[in-house]
Symmetry: C2
Subunit: 336 residues, 2 copies
């Protein structure tokens, strides 16, 4: 592999000069610069990233740590982050902390010296420990974490408000027995959405029986399974709020297989408004979450932290959610 020394020797200058040509282009004579560039091109030289990082302690790389890579939600986050990162000339080191893979802690550890900052999505309520394993003063933005995790910037979404809007909407359509398919145990988003649902059930005097709260884990399969259990309830609920769209998709197919027609026999609502939602039949009423924006804001926030010379107050941003009414809930609203 060809290094800066080779270029320097061939061009008849010192390594410092070659370096200067590649960097701030401090005072270098045009003639010299041209010769160096020509030689570099001829030899096919490009600077060694690791060596550069070592001395500058800048990697021009952002770490993105996600709980999974499956589904449209995460892919949208990646896209949002990549877009914002690329605008600043930064690379993106993506890692998923799936079960079976390295633990969150290991993943963080192995990124030391490879990234300038980190965007971490770790929605587990009890993940405080992992967070503490981060070197202090290292720029981190947490996504969808409990706000209690002070010490880091964080961005969340208005889960509670979204769930309230959805449940109120269903109640407004005349439903009084509204079931919920809950998200993963110990997940902050899931807990907040459940809290919103319960608040409306209480405030509006809807049927509060615990049987209406079905467990799920955000996966399509769990939505399918929950819908089957739900279908067996007597009396059967007339509306279902799935805590994310993935489970709504699973529930939809289960309900249909069970012979129910939506929205006539039962109404369905989801959460996240993934791209797929509008293409379902009937199109899925959902709570829109600006997923791409989430990624972009996180990145912007991280860059702000990177540029800050001294540690700033940790800030929290909450992105608004909006109810998107489509046909699956039986309201008129929304096209296709």
């Amino acid at each position: 592999m060809i290094t800066i020394k080779d270029v320097a020797r061939q061009a008849g200058v010192s390594v410092a000069t070659v370096s200067r040509v590649y960097n701030d282009s401090a005072n270098v004579r045009p003639h010299t610069r041209a010769r160096v560039q020509a030689m570099a091109r001829e030899l096919g030289y490009s600077p060694h990233g690791a060596a550069r990082s070592l001395i500058t302690s800048r990697t021009h790389t952002l770490g993105l740590l996600l709980p999974d890579l499956y589904g449209e939600f995460f892919s949208e986050v990646i896209r949002g982050v990549d877009q914002a990162a690329q605008r600043e000339g930064f690379h993106l080191l993506v890692s998923s902390a799936r079960a079976g893979g390295p633990s969150l802690e290991d993943a963080l550890r192995s990124m030391r010296g490879r990234v300038d900052g980190l965007i971490v999505m770790s929605p587990d309520l009890d993940a405080g420990a992992s967070r503490r394993s981060l070197p202090h003063g290292f720029p981190v933005v947490m996504l969808n974490c409990p706000p209690s995790d002070a010490g880091y910037d964080s961005i969340g979404i208005a889960n509670y408000e979204g769930a309230v809007a959805m449940t109120r909407h269903l109640a407004g359509l005349g439903h009084t027995r509204i079931a919920i398919i809950k998200g993963a145990e110990g997940n902050f988003d899931a807990a907040e959405r459940l809290r919103g649902y319960r608040a409306v059930v209480r405030d509006l005097g809807l049927d509060p029986s615990p049987a209406l709260e079905l467990s799920g884990d955000f996966s399509e399969a769990s939505g399918h399974a929950a819908a089957l259990r739900l279908h067996a309830l007597v009396p059967r609920p007339t509306a279902v709020f799935a805590a994310n769209d993935g489970m709504a998709v699973g529930a939809l197919s289960a309900l249909r297989e069970a012979g129910l027609r939506l929205p006539h026999d039962i109404a369905l609502g989801g959460f996240d408004d993934i791209p797929l939602a509008r293409y379902l039949e009937p199109a899925l009423t959902s709570v829109h979450v600006p997923i791409g924006v989430l990624g972009e804001h996180a990145t912007a926030c991280l860059f702000a932290g990177l540029r800050a010379t001294e540690p700033t107050e940790s800030r929290r941003e909450v992105l608004a959610t909006t109810l998107v009414v489509r046909r699956s809930c039986g309201a008129q609203g929304g096209p296709g």
Copy 2:
């Protein structure tokens, strides 16, 4: 930031010993090892990736260069690659070469010294130049590139065969005026799919008029636009083959807005079989491409190249495609 020296000093050993504890665990006394580990934990030490890479010339990172990050196709590729990479303890550096971003060439250049190998998806027919900009002997796997690009391992998919299967299937249902919405200009996959379509049109004596070949660029919007043009043709084609599912989705909504009912008034087929396809109404007949497998095989192939001590023959693998019949084409087959 705390370094190996700090750990060594505090533990009363030399840096070499600390290094040994972290690496091959060559002969180190249990007592010493324990003390070093305890001290490392106490100080919160973790090795600096860049420094390590510099001397070992191993980054434990794979570069993944995609033309875009939008849509389910690419996100599936990422997932497949990540899964295989993580199994070997490798990180993933993702980059998209979107218009507006750095050129493919720049992206490649900026990865020097940051990755051990590269997976590049650059389906442009004339991208030979960029490929040549890669240092020779650097492990690279090309995805969906023309097979003519010798010198690198490559993995493609059976575009031609898939297109033939789809077109034959539509013809088998009685259609004789079958339109195609073509993929992006200068794209290898697009060209192959068109070639398959034309072969069947010729062999089966279908209507060969050029008006039936509508241009598109793989985007949903272009599918929508093409469908509108198609709808205006007289006589109107009775079947449409969209060169990817994204365009099929766009075409579907356009056709429906135009008042046509599928598959009764017009049959529709796609390509790629993205997850969304089965959820459309009517469910989309498509050519299944094992996208995740594509990523996994690419990664496996790359690791093989990494481990090879001496340069091997460049190999090409072609993944089979299979026709998935659903309701959008009017055949009985397939559930939902």
